[in-house]
Symmetry: C2
Subunit: 341 residues, 2 copies
Amino acid sequence: MKPTIKDVAKKAGVSIATVSFVINKSKNVTPETKNRVLKAIKSLNYHPSKSAINLVSGKTGNIGFILTDDHFLRTEPFYTKIFLGTEFEARSEGYYILLTSIKQDFNEKDILPRFILNKSVDGIIIAGKIPHSLIDRISAYNLPTVFIDYNPPTNSYPLVLIDNIEGALLATNHLINLGHTNIAFICGDIEHPSLSERLKGYKRALVDANIPVKNNLIITDAKYPDRQNGFNSAKKLFSRNKNVTAVFAGNDAMAIGVLHYLKDNGYKVPQDVSLIGFDDVGGDILLRPPLTTIRVPKIELGAEALKLLVNTLKNKKSLSKKILVPVELIIRESTSFCKSK
Amino acid sequence: MKPTIKDVAKKAGVSIATVSFVINKSKNVTPETKNRVLKAIKSLNYHPSKSAINLVSGKTGNIGFILTDDHFLRTEPFYTKIFLGTEFEARSEGYYILLTSIKQDFNEKDILPRFILNKSVDGIIIAGKIPHSLIDRISAYNLPTVFIDYNPPTNSYPLVLIDNIEGALLATNHLINLGHTNIAFICGDIEHPSLSERLKGYKRALVDANIPVKNNLIITDAKYPDRQNGFNSAKKLFSRNKNVTAVFAGNDAMAIGVLHYLKDNGYKVPQDVSLIGFDDVGGDILLRPPLTTIRVPKIELGAEALKLLVNTLKNKKSLSKKILVPVELIIRESTSFCKSK
DNA sequence: AAATTATAGTTAAACGTTTAACCAAAATTA
DNA sequence: TAATTTTGGTTAAACGTTTAACTATAATTT
C-alpha cells in the first residue's frame, strides 16, 4: 500500500505534524529531526497524497488549458508548442494541466469544459482566439484566467501577447532594406488582434520609410489564416498586380500557401519575389527555399502564461499584467535584394 | 463559498449519506426524496468535490497520456488526433487526462513523468513508440497501462492497434488492381511493429497476386518516417530504378515527401507514378494531387484506448485485450491505371 | 397476528493531509 | 534567580466525501 504521512512519522519517530512541517518548510524543525524525516520519506518513497492536500487547501492543483480544435489540429505546431511550454513550466510549479479542446464555433448550446463545471481547476489558460460567448460564460465562474495570443475586447484579463507590431516592423523593414518598395501584405483572420497588429506594423514601417501604402497590395479577409487561404490570397494579389517584388504574409502557414502559388505560377523565390512569414513554425522541412520569418518564442509564451497565472493564484490579487514576448527576425533564403529596378 | 454535500442535505432535509446515495445511484431512495435532493443539487449548483471523492476512494480520477515530443509536434496531426479521441471519451467516463510529452531519446537519467512519481493517475495511455528503458521504469509502478499503435516486445499490455496488415493489403491490392506490377514500398522507422507490418502486408499482397517481391523496390531505414525521409527514400529508389510505376509509402508523411521528389523530378502523379500513403492525416490541403491513402480512425484509436483502460480499472482484472481497429481505403487522385504496358 | 424481511433512511468512521492551539524545555531578559 | 520569550515539537480539528453498521418503519410471509 502507498505509504502515508503516518508511516513516515512512525518511521522517523515524530508526529505527523512535524513531517508536514518538514515537507512544507514551515515552522522550526531541528536539522537533526529534519534529516530523520527526510530519510524516512526517501526510504519509504513517500509522496504526499494530492487529494488530501487538495481537500484541506481547497485547491485542485490543476490548471485548465483551452484551445479550439482547429488550433490544436492545424498543420503547423504553433499552439501545441505553446501548450508544451505551459506543461513544462507547470512541472516545476507542481501543477497539472488539463488540456481540452473546444469547437471553433462554440455556441450557447454547447457545454463548458468539464473542469470548469466541476471546479476541478484553480485557473485557466486560454490560447488563441475563442468565441465571445464562451468567454462570458467562463467568466461567470470567476476563475483566474490568462489569455495567450488573444486580447479579448471586453474584459481586462492578464495577457501574454506576441510583440506583433515589433515583428511586423522587423519583417517589413527587412524587405525595405533589401530594396523592395512594392511590398504586399497578405493575411486572413484579420479581425484577430494579433494579425491586425501585424498589418498595423506593416503600414507603419512603410510610412516611416516614406513608401506609400497601397490598398491593392493588401489582401486580407476573415477566413482562417491557413495555407489554402495564403494560396488564394496570392492568386488574388498576383492576378491584379504584376509588379509585386515582396510579400509579407501574416503567418508562416499563409506564407507557405503563397509559396505554393508562386511556384505553381513560375515565380522564383526569392529571385522574382521575396517572401517573409511570421511565427517560425518550421514544420515543413521540405520547404524550398527555407522561409525567412519572424520567430515567435512559442514555448516561452506558454511558460510565461503559466507563471503569470500561478502568480495570480498565489498573490490572490489579480495583477492584471500584460506580458509582451519579444520576437526575432530569422533570415533564411526566401528573401533577397530587389532586382527589378 | 462552494456548496458542499452538507448544504444540499440541509436544503433537501435529508442526511448527507442520502445525498451521496442519490448521486451514486446506490441503495434505495424514494423517488420523492430523490427528487428533493436533485432539486437541491440543481438549485445550489452543487458539484461534488473531486478531492474528497478521490481521498476516500483512493483513486485520482486522472489518466496519464504519454507521447514523445516528435510525435506531438510533427506536422501531421496524427497523435494529436488520437489524444483528442482519448480526451473526448474521457469526458463521458468522468476522467481527466494529464498529457505529458517525453523526449524521444528518453534515457536512464531522465526523470519520469511527474504524474507517475506522485501517483497522480489511475492508469496510463502510451501512444506511439517509446524507448524500452522507459517502459521498464514505468512498469515498476505497476499502473494499468494501455498502448496505442505500439506493441512493446517485452511485456503483454492491453493494446489498441491499427490493422496494418489489412491496410497494407488494401493499399497494395488497389495498386495491383490498377494494373501495376512494379510497385515499390518506402518506409522509415521500419523497426516499428506497425510499419514492419505494413511491409509484411505489402509482400503478402504481391505474393498472393503472383508478383515477385523485388528487394530493390523496397526502401526502408530506421529513421523517423517524415517527409524528409520520404523525399530521400524516393531519391534512392528512382535513381536506381526507372521503371517503377507505383509507390506505396508507409505513411502519408513519407508519401508527401515522395510526392515532392516526384514533382521536383518531372514525374507526373498519377500519370507516371501512382502513389498511395497510409494514415490519412490529410493536413495539407494544398497537396496536389490529393493523396490516395489508407484511413486510420485516429479519434477512435484514442477513444478505444480509454475505454479499454477504464474497463481494466473497473474490473480490476487486467483483461489484456488487444483491439485491432479497422482501416479503410480512401481513393483520391494520386493513383490511376498503369499505362506503361 | 406474529415473525420475518425489505425498504428508506441515519450515524459515524475513515481517507491523508494542514494548521491552529497548545505545551514543555531551553534560552533570554530583567 | 525569577519571569519571559523562543524553540521544537505534539494534539486534535477540519476539509468533503463514501460506506459499513445501524435503526425504524413498512411490507411480506407464515
